[in-house]
Symmetry: C3
């Protein structure tokens, strides 16, 4: 449970808000790289932390991310012409380069042009892992580019998609670092079912309700759900939370058939206070990902489930997520198809910004409680001029883990071999 | 005409408002009983007096009405599983019985469960007359269950439907206790027309504009429109208003062909300040109602006219109620089909909450004026700790009346024989 | 650039606002005359300067423009019956004549009728040029009817249409008196294209960026864009701005094939602060307009492009104006079809009420800057009890001009012969 003003502080991300200022210290995903497929392709509208922006790839392949509205008279540059190393407003022909400099003014006689005095707000970008990342903060605080293991993998071994969630970003993050819900919400009741989820024979489900163990690190925390199995073994699922909004979890790429062969995760990027762009990535550390893997059938995040121009899910609040009550009765816990559709359904059902003064949390919510605490701390660190966790890319070799192990095994040993172990600050 | 603050007081029904507190003294309809057709059927979302609720019928057939959002972390219980004597949240598996007690916590190890400390807000319910009624007020003020004559009739002789009206509830009620509009708004101009309404040959229409006579009672009031006919006879239509929002009117079940064979009425239940669920009932005191009667073709409230999952009318504001201007020219007064569709059209056209400071009322509005007065009085009675009219079920034998009678007949004699006559407080 | 309070002052038009009071000094278009095709035809909903109104044509052909809601209990008169010299509310049968007098009350016995005490707000109207014009201001300030040359032309030689723009009215006006954007936004890149717009061979486009010259007059101002052509000639386009929201521009009726044969213009009438009804007129001073002319294919304002019951454009914000990025690449500057669709696209993209504190204006914006200045002055004139420009119809013979002329020609000579020259107040 949070006090009302803490809930406001941790959820709202517009310019000038405490969390808004905090997120603007990080590189954050702005769009998928394929949305700008080639030089001089059409510009794309981007909404990020409550700001209206436009992205374009110029003639040389460089990416610009500008304020959406032309400084002249505020016409949208999304309607604009992407040509000859700049984005040109169609209203009066003002043209801007990727740095936001106005480089041409069609409406003024040459001798009267004041283009050199005009700048559009422009944010730096980098491409990594199939994403365009942006930095919206003060130039003198710009950190090194993001270095996640998955963003450095070859394209054959990684995949990323996105989908809009109609709620505040923190509801998404809290679901993603809450291992306790997964074998409940995503349970498959019928052993013969082919619908996605975790069957009752899965040790994840067979195990008793977990105890949660958590280590604070210099990027956020790592934690595990430890589930006792009959016979004394333990089922372990160990995750990482990298501030401000990254989850790294054990992957079951290709479904349980292919086993644990890598990592996956989500990034919950606020478009504005009540809308989130969820990025979904997978990283195979062994064989290449297949076309079938990239459909994300199990998760419900791929092109079969999400419109690839609007990034709206076909199963959504308007159509009650196509919940089938007969399926819910006998086959799956929710009657909703798609593991991440199930997540969005419950998270959106909490309202646009959930009122955390009404929570009743228990030991199973430890990871959620500590994430809120870390995020609130981060806002105060930034206010004090400090550097919050996760800015310095110490997290690039992080590995999640899922395994069944003998009683008394320390789950932390599953996270090695690691070239660099995270610096653990505190175990709770 | 009302002052602005009186209009606010009499219309708004959220928690803590004067009228909200007043309505929470009464049993009020929450949903149709058939929406929960059998034990362990899917739960149903209910919006009542601005509160978000969920209704379910448990394994034993008992009905629960809980706050919609799980006390754990506010996921909607409407997505939940109705199983084994409780409604279970799909997010972490917390389960609640019809009394709101948390009886299971799937996400916590048994030894850490704190289920016994958790309660969801739960409201008592009763089934009567094909409706589920709820009481949302303080437990120590809970009155005896509602006892309308129609709710006690056998199912063969009663019928009830519902439809959403996109306006404040009081606009509906005011239309329902305003007999003076009926032979105008609902008039059929063409004697050969088969469209529903009142033809010019009907004594209701043939009569001159009515004088209104009204007696205050311990449940609200009874009143009659008295219309002089040529030749000296009188046409009488006598209604009851039972607080806070019940109308009882003479029925012409099956159309004028079958004559006056019972009572009918509406209940205008606020979903929130700007949305009303209108319940429509009919009660035959003679022969059983037929399947055709239950289609409510004349009124436009039945399954042919109202979507039976959303309860939205097919003729609505968006499509201008399918008003046909050619039909209006020559055949019916409005060009809109369905007597209650006509009512909703004019009432919704007044705006979400009509501004009663702009009214210009006359003698024909006496019943409307006195209803507002009674409702305002009731809010003050409740504020003073008293019991407003209509709480104590003295109204269970009330009968409406419609008749043509000789000059100088007292309409009150038409309302007998009554086993118990209402206690008349004042005649105005 | 405007200060925030100036932007509020010049854009908002509701009752009591400075610009609202100013616009209420003028006759303004309320609807197209053909929307009320004959006596006793259906009434029409009108939204004007933030007021909800209803228009009807009575049995004698006279036009009434009343407040939308019946003074009795606020039911909408748009649902009403237009019959026997009055508009009758369907709820209780109150009837109003074109002057707003209540002339009948069906719900009250004759001896109790208080109709003579009831008046609905009614505004005077005149028909001119295929439009119904209304005056919403104080009766003692009512000016003479509007006398534009085009409104006085025979129907064979004039045409008028309308379309809704989803933005504040001033964004439309500012686009209309901004000649500098036209050869940019409306440019056709491909010489073989058949899409509407200005080709690069057109002197309007061939000319260099214009200098703007502007004369204040007693109706507003006249101004010209003067574009130097190779070889020393000048391309001239000269417009008039008649307060509060009229543009008069040179017409290319029938496309460039038929040449410059008259005048055309727009009128940006505020429905409310964020919605504008744009009226589009053409006036041929030579041959009659053809049916093909009246389709307005080039502009995109006609029945092929705009729904003639809702007056919503088929190409609109919801569908991104059907912008075709491949067409934009090689064929037209925007990839959007329809010259005025292009205007609406950029103007709507600026937001509902553009924030003019963010502007960066230059010499090419002179006409825009001076229009804002004149409009702000007009609000202060009205506050001081004075008469703003454009009220007294001195503008009835105004002619626009477009021509290629030798160097050093004064564009003002193109505007004669005029029976009456405008009184020029100041040249800037």
């Amino acid at each position: 449970m949070l006090a009302h003003d803490e809930n406001e502080r941790v959820t709202r991300v517009g310019p000038g808000t405490p969390m808004g200022k905090t997120m603007r210290q990080y590189w954050i995903p702005a769009l998928l790289a394929w949305e700008l497929p080639e030089p001089d392709c059409p510009p794309v509208r981007v909404r990020l932390l409550g700001e209206a922006l436009v992205a374009f790839r110029n003639t040389q392949g460089r990416i610009g991310l500008l304020e959406e509205h032309c400084p002249h008279r505020q016409a949208s540059l999304v309607l604009g012409r992407n040509e000859d190393c700049g984005l040109r407003c169609v209203y009066h022909g003002w043209k801007f380069d990727v740095a936001g400099e106005c480089v041409d003014m069609m409406n003024e006689p040459e001798e009267l042009s004041f283009a050199h005095k005009i700048r559009a707000t422009a944010y730096p970008t980098v491409e990594a892992g199939g994403l365009v990342w942006a930095y919206l903060g003060p130039p003198d605080r710009r950190p090194p580019p993001p270095l996640f293991a998955w963003t450095q993998a070859p394209p054959s071994h990684r995949h990323v998609s996105k989908v809009i969630q109609e709620s505040n970003w923190l509801q998404g993050l809290e679901g993603g670092i809450d291992t306790s819900h997964a074998p409940i919400l995503h349970r498959v009741l019928d052993p013969d079912s082919t619908r996605p989820g975790f069957k009752t024979t899965d040790p994840f489900v067979r195990g008793k309700a977990p105890t949660l163990e958590l280590d604070f690190t210099d990027y956020g925390y790592r934690y595990a759900g430890v589930r006792p199995l009959e016979g004394g073994d333990l089922h372990i699922r160990a995750y990482h939370f990298v501030l401000p909004f990254h989850q790294i979890r054990p992957a079951r790429i290709g479904g349980s058939a292919r086993g644990f062969s890598g990592a996956s995760g989500h990034i919950w990027v606020p478009m504005d206070d009540e809308t989130t762009m969820v990025y979904n990535w997978e990283h195979s550390t062994t064989e290449p990902l297949t076309d079938e893997d990239r459909l994300e059938r199990r998760l419900g995040n791929g092109p079969l489930d999400v419109d690839q121009s609007t990034f709206r899910s076909k199963r959504n609040r308007e159509n009650h997520y196509l919940q089938d009550r007969r399926v819910q009765k006998t086959e799956t816990f929710t009657g909703i198809d798609g593991i991440n559709v199930q997540d969005r359904a419950v998270q959106e059902s909490m309202g646009p910004i959930v009122d955390r003064t009404r929570d009743h949390l228990g030991p199973a919510d430890r990871a959620v409680i500590q994430a809120r605490r870390l995020l609130l701390q981060a806002t105060r660190t930034v206010e004090a001029g400090g550097i919050p966790p996760g800015i310095v890319p110490t997290y690039y070799t992080l590995r999640p883990a899922e395994a069944v192990v003998p009683h008394a095994t320390d789950w932390r040993t599953l996270l090695v071999p690691e070239p660099l172990r995270p610096k653990v600050l505190e175990q709770v």
